[in-house]
Amino acid sequence: MATPVSTQSTSSAPRRPEEIAKACEAIAFDVSFAPVRAWKERTGRKAIGFLPIYGPREIVTAAGMLPVAVMGGGDRVEIVRGDAYFQSYLCQLPRSTIELALGGQLDVLDGMLFPATCDVLRNLSGMWRMSFPDKLVRYLDFPHDHRPLVGMRFWENDLRALAHDLGALSGIVPDETALARSIALYDENRALLASLDALRVEAPHRAPIAEVYALVRAGAVLPVEEHSVLVREYIAAAKAADRAPRDHARVLVVGAFCEQPPIGLLVTLERAGCYVVGDDLCLATRLVGEQVATEGVPPFASLARAWVEKARPTASRYLPNEEKGRWLVDRCRALRADGVVLAAPSFCDPALLEQPMLQTALDRAGIPHTCFKYAENTAQLQPIYEQAGTFSDSIRLFTEAA
């Protein structure tokens, strides 16, 4: 019997933000996926996993199943068999994901979706087919042609085919009405996460990055309604908490769109004097931050359009003309960030090839930046502490001088 994990307070007193964050941490970083097991036992329904950077969770939910973002094993999984599957010069995420699968922790998932994020995840979809032939495996080929009657139509067809396959597994083939209901639930969640982001911009001392990250990441495994309750509770608690601001630099953390840094690394950035006022962490559940439902557009078409028109410009998307650099500069200004930390997973071609382009854009705009590589199980945090500390000091000196 799986241990049920409570997302709610057991007493009537409101929880403090750190208590909510602690509960979220237990959910978000549980590599045995106990919350998913508990949900399945409670509901008798199925769960579908997906890898970063995107899964159409709205469709999975509309098909009566639980979407679960699988973001590797972080620093909580010892790699025993995973190394026999991947050469040393490949990133860590697929290795720990295979490790989890071989260890049986992912048995709880009845299918797996592989988004077209990079060559490694693309090939991992084939490895999954070879290794787990009884599970549903689908590859999500995002369109890089963005015209409504070409790329968007192709993508919408793909989403409809996915809905059909998921329906065959769950017994509920989602129609437009069911999808509209599901999109509304996720839109509510997106609106709450946007409020959380706004709080971070206005008062970053009220919502430390480690808490925010645990809260956001809990959404990777919880049903969306439950997650929305938690986000609402956290925002209220964080606003009410007595937390004093510090003289920290305001930074954006960019580059961690797929393999996630260990939470210790995020804590280190803050300890070193950086308030993270914006990030691209946990994009698997946040790639589309805007409202998906579009007036006058049917739900499947809205969802297809959201990927093309509303998804964040990450390294996995082809956008020429330095659009991503411009977006980053604009975002820095909108969030009143003093600088950018470019943090990319080691051996990640998309992230690392993107970095010099972003650096050029930041240089042109006169925005300070620093960059480093990490792996999800990076344990040596002292060099990062020193680097981030120097960066934060230099920004503050620069700001004071200005």
Binding site: Y85, G126, P143, Y318, C348, Q359
Partner: protein, 438 residues
């Protein structure tokens, strides 16, 4: 070993090699002269290249991967990569990209002369996401160049669906052709496109006959080291041309002649007639130590009878041909069908088929650090292939064009022990067979 005509280590060139050299060098001259002649230049990639369509517009294709590999074979890639890393590129990423960017920064070309800038960046990114980043970076270097995106869906389920084909066709008609028309100021002449495709198919027939000669014993070709020369015209700018047709006819005749005489291919150590080991190879070559690696095979009398690398620019031996009767459909099918666009299970099945059909003693996986598209999953392929074929596999690691990742002594050790194991296995099998024969 039984080699002939080595003339003190100097390997003689066959007529097809001389012809190829002439073709490529004339082509580079045309490219270098493009700013003067006014011919438009299109940068694009090998897997899923649209050569016939480009030639129908009289534009000159430039293939950055080929620039990178040529720089490596001329011993210049290490410097170009260092140049790109000085400019902020990570040691971790694909060395092809860095070699190309370093070459641009050094204001050089693979032959030493700088190449003309692109009028169009034609991003047909069959089978590799790094291509996208590569062209985003090139677009930054050449802001005036137009970009045409051709997103080719991946054959994740091992099939091409009508929707996938439709998507590619729509992009060809609504994105690629209009952009070519705009940069050249010409309308597409479909009859010319058909004529070009007719010639492509002729060359492709001869090319397949050359590759399939690897089934003979002894094999008159080397299907990996030798084949990278055989693929060069077909995978680059010569499909659809008279020169291409003539080259493949000449090559086929040479190969058939060698087969009829029971001769093997020419290797860096001379002609390899006496072949002890037949291999299939999966993965790209190591261009920086190309001859050194080939020599290690030749020294052990090992011949590669088939490889996957010579299918990255088209999987012709499974039946595909450019078809003048349905030019756009066949361009779409070509892009969708390249080896790099196959799923891991399909790739594994193909290698298993080669092992069987080419009667190989073993198969080697060459894993290159640069190329996630090829490498991710190769260890699982290896194990699965061993199960499927009952033949032991070998595993080598190095890189495409970054000389820092080729360790000669290490590779040699691994190869020697692998070859010894294959021979011992064959010896044991022969003994077993002798025991049961009355």
């Amino acid at each position: 070993m039984s080699t002939r005509d080595t003339e003190g280590g100097h390997v003689p060139k066959e007529p097809s090699m001389i012809k190829q050299k002439e073709l490529l060098s004339a082509y580079y001259d045309r490219l270098v002269a493009a700013p003067q002649t006014g011919q438009k230049v299109v940068y694009t990639f090998v897997p899923g290249n649209l050569t016939e369509l480009l030639l129908a517009f009289d534009v000159l294709p430039v293939l950055p991967e080929i620039n990178a590999l040529q720089s490596a074979m001329r011993g210049r890639s290490g410097d170009f990569i260092a140049e790109a890393e000085r400019a902020g590129h990570s040691e971790d990423v694909c060395s092809y990209v860095k070699c190309d960017l370093g070459m641009l920064r050094a204001k050089s070309g693979p032959t030493g002369k700088p190449l003309p800038p692109p009028d169009l960046l034609l991003l047909s990114y069959t089978g590799c996401f790094t291509f996208m980043k590569w062209f985003e970076l090139l677009k930054q270097e050449f802001p005036k160049a137009e970009v045409a995106m051709l997103h080719v869906p991946y054959q994740a389920d091992g099939v091409v669906t009508p929707e996938m084909r439709q998507y590619v066709l729509a992009q060809l008609r609504e994105e690629v052709v209009p952009k070519l028309e705009r940069i050249t100021g010409k309308k597409l002449d479909e009859d010319r496109l058909r004529e070009l495709m007719e010639k492509s198919a002729l060359a492709e027939d001869d090319f397949v006959a050359v590759l399939e000669a690897g089934k003979k014993k002894p094999s008159p070709i080397d299907g990996y080291f030798g084949a990278v020369f055989y693929i060069a015209p077909l995978f680059s700018a010569f499909r659809g041309t008279d020169d291409g047709v003539a080259y493949y006819r000449l090559l086929r005749e040479e190969v058939e002649q060698r087969a009829a005489e029971g001769r093997g291919p020419i290797t860096p150590l001379g002609q390899l007639d006496d072949q002890r080991i037949r291999l299939v190879v999966e993965g790209p070559p190591c261009w920086t130590s190309f001859r050194e690696l080939w020599s290690m095979f030749a020294a052990e009398k090992a011949v590669v009878v088939a490889s996957t690398y010579c299918k990255v620019g088209g999987l012709y031996d499974t039946g595909f041909r450019h078809d003048p009767r349905r030019p756009f459909d066949s361009l779409a099918d070509y892009c969708l069908g390249c080896y790099t666009n196959l799923s891991l299970p399909s790739r594994t099945d193909l290698v298993a088929r080669y092992v069987r059909e080419y009667q190989a003693d073993g198969f080697l996986v060459h894993s290159v650090k640069s190329c996630n598209s090829f490498s991710a999953g190769q260890l699982l392929m290896l194990r699965s292939l061993e199960k499927k074929t009952g033949v032991p596999g070998g595993f080598l690691e190095s890189d495409l064009v970054d000389p820092r990742y080729f360790s000669g002594a290490n590779v040699k050790n691994r190869l020697e022990s692998y070859f010894q194991m294959l021979l011992a296995r064959r010896g044991a099998a022969a003994e077993r067979a002798a025991e049961v024969t009355p």
